[in-house]
Each structure stands twice: as C-alpha cells, then as structure tokens.
C-alpha cells in the first residue's frame, strides 16, 4: 500500500487529461486501437477492473473508447496505458474538453422527441382505427367525440414537445427572411391540429390528430438518421486525432514536463518537441537547433533548418534536435495568417451552394401554398360556405405536407455514408454527397496525398548488402525519422554499443577499430555520390553512411501510395480530368506526374496560387474535387466544390474536408465518386416520387375527398417507399 501511494505521489505526465470526479477519484477517457471482438471487451474490462486503484472500467465498443475511473492515490494514467499496451492495445488519452457536447445534447433531445412522438402516434392511431371502423359500423356520436378528445389530449402536448424542433427551425428561417422545409411542416402541423380541435368542438366526423402526430414522427426519424450519421463521423474523427497522439509536452514553470491536449495550452506557454515528434502548436523557438520536415505545411520536401528565434508551425516534423518552443497565438504566423485570410474568402464561395433539400423546398413551398389558396377561392366561387371551403383548403395543406420529402434526402445520405464508411471514406457533411456526385475534375496535392507520409529507400537494390546491414544496425540507435527506413532493414538486430549521436550531424560508432558514420552527406564526406543520386532521384533526401573509406548514400523518399497509379487510371477511365497542384519543387512533381500519366501539373504553388487555379477551373464551369492534406492546401480545399483529405492530414486541412480517406489507399476516392453519383440519383428518384405522390394526392384533397384515413395511408405509404428506395444505396459499395 505504501509503495502504491509513493508511485502516485509523483505527478503524472498525463494529469492534464484527467477529469476529477471527487477529491480522491478521477476519470480518464482513452481512445483504444485494435478492438475487434467480444474477447477484447472482456479482456480489457477484466484486466483494467483488477488493476490496483481502478474503481470502474467500461469500454464503449461503438466509439472504441475506454472510460476508467480510479483513485488518484493508487493509480495514474501512464500506468493504465502501460497495462493496456502490455495487453496489446494502443491507447491514447482523450481531451476532456469535448467539442461535440452540444451535438450530443441535440441528439438526446431528438431521441426523446422521437420517443414521445412514437408513443403518441401509436396510441392515437389505435383510437383513429376505432373511429374509422365506426364510420362503417355506426359508432355513436358521443363515443366518437370521446375518442377525438382523448386523441387531442395526447396530440396537443406531443406537438408542443416534439414539434418544437420544427417550429424553432421554421421561426429561425422566417426571421432571416427565408423559408425552409420546416415552414410548411410547421404550418401543416398547426393547421391540422387547429382544424381538428374545431371539428371536435363542433362534433364533426373527421379529425386529423393522427395525421399531425404521424407527420412529426416520420420527420423526426429523418432528423435522427441525419444526426446519427454525423455522430459516427465525429466519434471516429476524434479517436483518430487522439490515436495520432496529437498531444503536446508542456514545460511547467518548475521545469517538469506534462503531456496534454494541444487545446489546453495557452499562448505564452513553453512546449518541448522531441526529435521525431510533430510540432503541436505554432510558436517561436526559444532554445535548440534542428531540421524540420515542413511537407505537411508547405508541400516542400526539402528540409528546413531552424534555430532560436525562428517561427515553427503546427504540423511540421522535428527531425534532429530537441526544441523548446514558446507558443504563439494560432494566427500570428505569417503563413497561417495568409492561409486563414484565404480560407475565410474561399468558405464564402462555398456558402453559395444551395442544398438539394433547400432547393426542393424553394420550389415546393410556394406551389403548395398557392394550391391551397386556389382551392379555397375555387370552392368559395363554387358556392360552398367559407368554413367548408377552408376545411378543404387545409386538408390540401395536410396531405401535401412534405413527409416523404423530409425523409427523401437524409435516408439516402445515411445509407450512402454507411457504404462509404465500409470502403474507408468518412463523410463529414451530408450535403457533400450531392456535391461529390457532380465531380468532373480531380485536383490532387502531391506530398502526403499522392505519396505516403512514411519514407522508403529508393536505391536499395543498387547498394552493397554488407554495408547496408551495418548501416541498418547503426541506424537502430538513432531517433531521426529518416533513419527509420534504414533501421527497418535490420529487424531484431542489436545496435552498436558504442553508438553516439552527433547532434545535427548524425550518429557514429566504433566497430573493430573502424569508425562508422551515418548522417548528413557532409558528415560522411559523400558529396560526389550524393550529387550523382540527386540527378536520378530529385525528390529524395540523402542519408550517407561511411565505414572507414567506404561510402554509400541512401536516397530516401516518400513513395507513391500503393494504388495511386490505378486510382488515377480509374478516375480517367470514368471521364474525370486529373490535375496535380503541388507546393513542392518542379522536378519531383514532374517525376510523379510522369509516373502517374498526368499531363496537367503545377509545381511551387503557394496557397494563393492553388486557390486561383481552382477559381479558374470553376470559372470554366468545372466541378472540382480537391484532395489535399497540408495546411497550405486548406484554402484550396475550401475553395473547391468538394474536398477530401487523407487521414494523415493536418487539423486545418481536415476541418475543411468533406470526406476523410481512412486507409493508405487512394482508390476509395474514385469509388466514392461512384457511390455519390448513385446516391444523388436515388435522392432525385425520391424527390420525383414525392412529386408523383402529390400529383395523385392533391386532386383527391382538392375535390374534398381526403378523409383522415386517406391522409394516414398516403403519408405512411410514401414514407416507407422513400426509405426502402434509400436502402438501395448500400449495393454500390459491394460492386
């Protein structure tokens, strides 16, 4: 017991992720990788449950997150994560500041509203069936009124509670001087209820309480589906961020180090960036000398040397030396300020796109309201008393209430997003599918998009194996990211015991009296070999190795994604134009373009030039899909009609992307366009079905024959047809 207290008395580096439950217990949420089955759930919960100090451990399999509550005096997060890693699961702490809290609240509200509406619809329908049957069998008027009053008693509170979701949205739209689908929905619900109450007061035969509540129920299903899709996307995206360990190491005033989520660090704090780690936040180097791989930020593959006083950007990879960085406000960097200004402008352009559902609403609303008005005037002219004419006009509004229309698009979106998820594409926004469907031009970034973020040795076949083996053993002792592909050539090898790092230059060791060196070209005096290689591999970084007077040079470069050639070919086969727009130098870009068979490419493009090129394409009335990963791509991603990012992309790029590519492969992008096209055609089919439904139903209503029974059948029937049709979007994923 004493030893356990002693362990926890040391502050833990991960304490920044904890949420205190009470003075002695705390909770941490971990994103866990590698959970596949029931056995994993049982193993993790059992092992964490018996861990000393743990009060409760519960794994959420859907979100792949583990919540552990533990007594802070007996356990600490690092020990918990260590235990998980012993069990074979990688786990990373999850920031307690959750941005999706508001969305969670909204989803609970929707589900509650849906539950209430479902309860009400069932009970009212029960009563309505009695009334409808009573029309044939001669139900007495007193009993009918009684049933109507009970229905009213259920329907009115339900509409007040569940219907508020539509009323709020309709009022918000009207305040901005616009209409959306919720305006006719709200109007339909209120008129149906109002008319039914008046009919009941007058001992009338027909009341539409069932129709009004069923409408709310079906439309809420559509809303809930929409929310569910967004929730899954959020959960996966947030886990990915945590699993990539996007935490930063903050240097506390007393000199100790603590890991925490990047959004918990204030401007002015000092963070420490170890070699091989990404810089988590923008800042100025206070201390240290290193090289940075800026490819995620600028697309440039050549490395940049930094020293005290230089500005570094989030997303760059620290290659050689330890850096202490004072954090700046996110927008103070010149590059980033530039990018953000471009972003704001580009997003405005995107805002001009009108969603399919809203366009349908714009056509639909005036049409329906005009029809109802004409019906009223028509019957008045025919000589009907105004109260009867009004009842018929209101039935027209009820029966045309866009029940199927409210489901037509979200149902397809959910099914298509599920199909996309199965091929490894995550959908960020629902209307993105409509925009993706029209794609006729794909613009690709090179670094990190066409190429993989990890490196390979390009000239390995031409190197003498004996020297390579020794270089690999030496590389094992180095933490430099460029030495990783070399070290991978000596699996299970042991590093030289004499290996010593020469900061900023490389690593050296002694072996049988000979000096071995691995590092920069100058460090190993291998300039002649390096120059020769640079001609063959213009996009490669050079790492030299010398053993006595023998020298070899490794050309290390980021390889193309395994299926990049296929993906580009299949895009072209589908009649889609392909372009490369890169921030890198022109020789490496030309090499990649040639390998992929892309004729149209541009190198050295700054964020502004990228945006300009996209505007030019759009002015040419092309519909552009931009795929990119860097901070420098973010404005272009926002300026394109639709955008996609690989999962390794920077935060800023991912925030702009409509879709995320989860794996290493690029061909899901081509498949996604096909699925989106199918989804769009299903959406159009559903919309047309709604039109046909109205062509049939409206004359019945206008002629005054739409009883509540007809309305109920028409509404539920059309909703079912639309939902079943939406399920067909699943099939595209498999073919």
């Amino acid at each position: 017991m004493d030893s356990a207290v002693a362990v926890a008395a040391r502050p833990d580096r991960l304490d920044g992720f904890l949420k205190a439950l009470d003075p002695t217990t705390a909770e941490i949420e971990l994103a866990v990788d590698g959970i596949h089955c029931a056995g994993c759930i049982a193993t993790i919960e059992r092992e964490m449950g018996v861990f000393p100090g743990v009060v409760r451990a519960r794994l959420n399999f859907t979100d792949k997150r583990l919540r552990v509550a533990f007594r802070t005096a007996q356990a600490n997060p690092t020990a918990l994560i260590g235990r998980l890693s012993d069990l074979g699961f990688a786990a990373h702490p999850f920031s307690p500041i959750r941005k999706d809290d508001a969305a969670d609240v909204e989803q609970r509200r929707l589900l509650r509203a849906l539950g209430v509406a479902g309860f009400a619809a069932m009970n009212i329908m029960l009563l309505s069936v009695v009334v409808w049957a009573g029309h044939e069998t001669g139900l007495d008027a007193v009993s009918r009124d009684f049933f109507h009053w009970v229905s009213a008693l259920i329907a009115l509170p339900t509409a007040a509670y569940s219907g508020r979701i539509f009323f709020d949205s309709a009022i918000a739209a009207l305040k901005r001087g616009r209409t959306n689908m919720d305006v006719p929905i709200s109007l339909g619900i209120m008129l149906a209820l109002g008319m039914s109450v008046i009919e009941t007061l007058n001992h009338g035969e027909h009341a539409y309480f069932d129709g009004a509540v069923m409408l709310i129920f079906f439309l809420l299903i559509g809303r809930t589906l929409d929310q569910a899709m967004q929730r899954r996307t959020r959960a996966v995206a947030a886990n990915l961020a945590a699993l990539r360990a996007e935490s930063v190491t903050k240097c506390l005033p007393d000199g100790s180090l603590r890991d925490m989520a990047a959004d918990m660090v204030q401007p002015g704090d000092v963070i420490v960036v170890h070699p091989g780690m990404r810089v988590g936040l923008d800042g100025v180097v206070e201390h240290g000398v290193s090289d940075l791989d800026q490819s995620l930020v600028t697309g440039e593959t050549a490395h940049q040397a930094v020293r005290a006083g230089d500005t570094v950007y989030a997303g760059t990879l620290n290659l050689s030396g330890l850096l202490r960085v004072r954090v700046l406000k996110p927008s103070t960097g010149t590059l980033l300020a530039d990018v953000e200004r471009l972003l704001a402008k580009a997003t405005e352009v995107r805002g001009a796109y009108v969603k399919l559902a809203d366009r349908a609403a714009q056509l639909y609303v005036p049409f329906v309201h005009a029809t109802a008005l004409l019906t009223f005037l028509g019957w008045l002219a025919y000589g009907l008393p105004w109260s009867q004419a009004l009842v018929i006009a209101i039935t027209v509004l009820i029966i045309t209430c866009p029940c199927a229309l409210g489901l037509a698009i979200p149902a397809v979106q959910v099914v298509a997003a599920g199909a996309l998820f199965r091929i490894g594409v995550l959908t960020n926004s629902g209307d993105a599918l409509e925009r993706l469907a029209a794609t006729d031009t794909v613009v690709l970034d090179k670094t990190g998009t066409l190429t993989l973020p990890s490196s390979e040795i390009a000239n390995i076949a031409a190197l003498p194996p004996e020297l390579v083996g020794r270089a690999a053993r030496l590389a094992l002792a180095s933490r430099h990211p460029l030495s990783a592909p070399i070290a991978a050539l000596a699996p299970g090898g042991s590093p030289y015991p004499t290996a010593r790092e020469a900061p900023g230059e490389g690593i050296r060791a002694c072996d049988h009296g000979r000096v071995l060196k691995l590092g920069s070209v100058a460090f190993c005096a291998a300039e002649t070999e390096a120059d020769r290689l640079a001609e063959r591999y213009p996009d490669a970084s050079m790492v030299a190795f010398s053993a006595g007077d023998q020298r070899i040079v490794f050309a290390i470069r980021q390889p193309l994604r395994p299926d990049a050639i296929e993906a580009v070919a299949s895009l072209k086969a589908a009649g889609i134009a392909v372009e490369i727009l890169s921030g890198d130098r022109s020789r490496p870009v030309a090499a990649v373009a040639k390998e992929l068979g892309v004729a149209c490419w541009m190198a050295g493009a700054t964020p502004a030039i990228k945006v300009e090129r996209l505007h030019a394409l759009r002015a040419d009335s092309r519909h552009v899909l931009m795929i990119g990963d860097g901070i420098n791509d973010a404005p272009a991603l926002a300026a394109a009609n639709v955008s996609m990012s690989p999962v390794s992309a920077t935060h800023l790029a991912q925030a702009q992307a409509d879709f995320l590519l989860l794996g290493q492969r690029l061909s899901p992008a081509a498949m996604a366009i096909r699925i989106a096209a199918k989804a769009k055609s299903l959406m159009m089919q559903n919309l047309w079905f709604s039109v046909i439904y109205n062509i049939v139903a409206v004359p019945i209503a206008i002629s005054g024959h739409a009883t509540p029974l007809v309305a109920a059948l028409a509404m539920s029937g059309s909703s079912l047809v639309v939902m079943l049709n939406a399920l067909r979007a699943r099939q595209t994923g498999q073919t």
Partner: protein, 52 residues
C-alpha cells in the same frame, strides 16, 4: 361502452410505461454503445481460458 372507462386508461398506461422505459433506457446510457451490446451478448465468460 362502459368498458372504455377502464380500458382507455389501461391502454394509455401501458403505452406510457413503454415510453417511460424508453426514456429511462436513454438516460441510463443504453443507446451509447449499440455495437458493444451485441458483442457482449454472445460472449461466454466460460470461454475465457481459451482466449488467454
């Protein structure tokens, strides 16, 4: 029609019970992890020696 006096409250009460159960299930987090619940269901604790 006198049966209505107790049948109607009974019907509504049963429906209300269902609604209350749904709201309780939601509040206590039963819908948080739908996939996990299906896996937990088929897991047999007696099998654990096979997996270790």
């Amino acid at each position: 029609m006198n049966v209505l006096v107790y049948l109607m409250p009974l019907a509504l009460g049963l429906g209300g019970l269902g609604l209350a159960a749904f709201l309780w299930a939601m509040r206590s987090g039963q819908f948080e992890d739908l996939d996990g619940a299906s896996w937990r269901g088929i897991h047999d604790p007696d099998d654990e020696r096979d997996q270790v």
